[in-house]
Symmetry: C2
Amino acid sequence: MRRRRFLEGLTALAALRAHRAGAADPLPRVNAERLRRRLEELSVFGRPAGGTFADGVSRTGFSAADVAAREHVLAQMRTLELAPAVDAAGNIRGRRAGASAGLPPILFGSHIDSVRGGGNFDGDVGSMSALEVVATLAEHRVPTRHPLEVVIWAAEESNYGSGLHGSRMAVGQLEPGEWDRVQDGVRKADALRRIGGDPDRIAEARREPGSFHAYLELHVEQGGRLDREGVPIGIVEGIVTIDDYDVVVRGFANHAGTTPMAGRKDALVAASEVVLAVRAVATSEPGAQVGTVGQLSLVPGAPNVIPGEVRMTVEFRDLDGARVTRLGQALQQRVGQIAAETSTAIEITHSSRHEGARTHPRIQEAIAGAAAARGLRTVRLPSGAGHDAQMMARLGPIGMIFVPSVGGISHSPRELSRWEDCAQGADVLLGTILELDALDRIA
Amino acid sequence: MRRRRFLEGLTALAALRAHRAGAADPLPRVNAERLRRRLEELSVFGRPAGGTFADGVSRTGFSAADVAAREHVLAQMRTLELAPAVDAAGNIRGRRAGASAGLPPILFGSHIDSVRGGGNFDGDVGSMSALEVVATLAEHRVPTRHPLEVVIWAAEESNYGSGLHGSRMAVGQLEPGEWDRVQDGVRKADALRRIGGDPDRIAEARREPGSFHAYLELHVEQGGRLDREGVPIGIVEGIVTIDDYDVVVRGFANHAGTTPMAGRKDALVAASEVVLAVRAVATSEPGAQVGTVGQLSLVPGAPNVIPGEVRMTVEFRDLDGARVTRLGQALQQRVGQIAAETSTAIEITHSSRHEGARTHPRIQEAIAGAAAARGLRTVRLPSGAGHDAQMMARLGPIGMIFVPSVGGISHSPRELSRWEDCAQGADVLLGTILELDALDRIA
C-alpha cells in the first residue's frame, strides 16, 4: 500500500518535472464539461421559483437553500472519496491522503453561500473547481506528496452583521455577541446548528498556524479588469485593507425661501464637499486605492427646507494598510476645512478596519508558472473584495487565482464568467497545487 | 344714519390729516394685552396633549383642531359685529360697513391653520391682529369711508398636495383632480365640507378683479433679517416666484472594492457636483435670490456599493421671475458639463412654477407712512415664502407687513415673535388701513 503510493508520488513528480522543463503539456486537465455541470447542478439551490440559471440564486448562509446545497456538496465529496465532515463552525472539510508521511496538507476551496439576489459564480467557481481538481487527479491516478484538503467555508457573505464566518472561526476571531445576534428572527447560534455546526464547541474549528502547506482559492474577479484587458488569469497580489467611517454633518434646517444664502448652514452642501473630497483624496496619488461614499441620507428632506443633518458612510481600500490609514487622515483634515467653510459641524468616526493580507510571492510564482505552461496570459492585481483567504493568511501562506467577470458585474444575478474561463481557472488551480506539492515548505 | 356715518367719516379723515401733518399721534392704537390674549386663546386649538403655549400647535387645515379654532374665531367675529359667513371655499369673511357709498372694501386678514408641528405666530398674528384692528376702531368709534372686510383664509399651508387653498379658490385656480385627492383617508371634497365649504358651489367663492380697494396682510417674517437687524417692521416688496426642478442622476452601481476610480460612474459624485452648482448659480450675481437642494435619495445605498442612481429636488426663488428662469437655465448648462465630466446621465425636469407677485408701491408707501408716524424703523424686503396675498394680487393692489421672527425660525413650535412686535405690527396695519381709506382708488 505504502509502496504503491510512493510509486504514484514519483509519477506525479516526474510529470511535474517534465512540465517545468517546458515539454509538451503532460499534465492532466480538468473536464470543462463536467465542471460546467457541477456549477449548473449547484445553481438549483436557492434559485428563484420558476427561474432559470440566468436568474441567479438567493442562497444566503444558514438558509434552507444553503442547507440543501451543502447536502448536495457533501454527497459529491463522498463520491470523490473525500470522507467529508462538518466542523463546529459549519465548514465542510474533505481530505485526500498524500504520498509522503508528515507533510502538511494543501488546502483549497471557496464558499457556496451567496448574497440575496446573487449569481452562480461568486464562490461557486472556486468550490466546484476544487471538487473538479480532485476528480481529475483521481481519474488520472495522480497522487500528491502532500495531503489535499478541500474546504467549503460556511457563510462567507455578510450575515448577522459580518462576513467570512467560517474562516473567522478557523482563526478564532469571534466578535462581541456573535451568537446572540438575530437575523430574520433567528439567533446566530441556532442558525449555525442548522448547518451542522456547534457554537458550544466552536474552539474545535480553530486551525493552528503552520498547520497547512498552502491555502489556495480560485474566485471570480468581481471587478472588470481581466474582462476589459482580455486576460484569462489574475494573480492576486493580496486582499485590500478596508477602513470604514461614519460621517455626520450637522447644519441647521430652515425655510428655503426665507433664509438668505449667506446665512445658511446647509448640511447637504457640506456633505457634497465631503463626497468630492473622498474622491479627491483617493485619486491624489497614483495607485489602485479606492474611496467610496455608498450611503447618504438627510433630514428633514423636504424640497423647501434646507437640510439640517446628513449621515453618510465613507470607505477607503488598498493593498497597503498604511496608505489606507493615510487616506483617512487626509480626509479628516479636509473635513475640518469643509466644516469651517460651510458653518457646519462634521463628525467623522472610524467605525471599523478590515485587515487585508498579502499573498505569498512563491505562490504567485507557482500560479504564474502553471498559467504560462498552459499558454495563459496573466496579470497581477489586488482583490478589492474580502475573501476567506485573508483569514487563512494569518496561519500560513496563501494564494488566489482570479478568472474574469464579464462587465465586472458582481453580487447580481447578472454576474457571469465564461465556461472556458472557469475551466482555465480550474486548470491553473490544479497546476498550482501540483507545483506547490513538489515543495516541502514554502519560503 | 347716513349723515352720522358721513360725520364719522369726516372725523377719521381729520385724524388722518393731523397724523400726516406730523402732529402728535392722534390715532388709536391697538390694545397690546388684548391682542396677546387673542393669540393665547387661539393657541389651545391643536396644542399637543399636556403641552403649553411653547409647544406650538398642529392645526392643519380641515382637521378637527382647525374646525374648533374656526368656531372660536367665528364667535369672536360675531362679538365684533362682523356678521361672519363661511364661503364655498371655507374662507371666513366678516364685514364692517363703510361711511361712503359705492366704495369697494379694504380686505385684510391671514390664516389660522398651521403645519404639522407648527407654532403660534405664522398666520395667527395677521388673523388676530385683523380682529384687534376692528375692535380698536369700534372702541374708538372710528368709522372708515370704505367698508372693511376681515378674511380668514382656509387651509393656507400645504395640504392635499398644494397650499393657499382658500385664496386659490378666490381666484378660481383649481388644480387637476383637486377634490379627489386623498389625505389620511379623506377625500378633499369631504374635508372641505367639514369646515362648512361646498365643492359643488366652489365658483361662488370667486372674487372679481377690482372688487376690493386693497388687500393687506400682516405676517411674521419667517426669516431672520428683521430680528438680526433689529428692525420692527418689514415692508414686503413682493412674494418670490419659485421654480421647482426634479433631477435624476443615472450612473452605474458596482462593487466599491473592485471598481477602480477611473472606471466609475458614481451617481453621488455627480449629484454632489449638482448640489454645489445650485449654490454657485444662486450666488453668482448680487441679489436676494436663493437656490436649494432639500431632498436627495440614492440607490442602492450600501456602504460598499457605488451609488447607481440619485434623485433630488432643486428650487430657485426670487422676486424677479425672469431671474428665476435665468438661474434654472444656468443650472441646466452646468448640469450638462457635470454629466460629461462624471460619465453619468443627468435628467433635469421643470416640475412647477409658482408665480410670485409684487406689492403695490402706493401701499408700500402707506405702510412706510404708518410706521414712521409711530416712530418705527422699516426695511423693504421680499417674502421668500408664499402667502395668500400673492393670489389676491391677481385681482387688485396688495400690501404686506412683516414683524420679526426671533432667530428666523419658522414652521416649528419654536417660532416666536415678541408680543410688542406683534402689537406694533397690528398698529401699522391699522394705520395703513386708515391711510388707504382716505383714497378713492389706489393707482
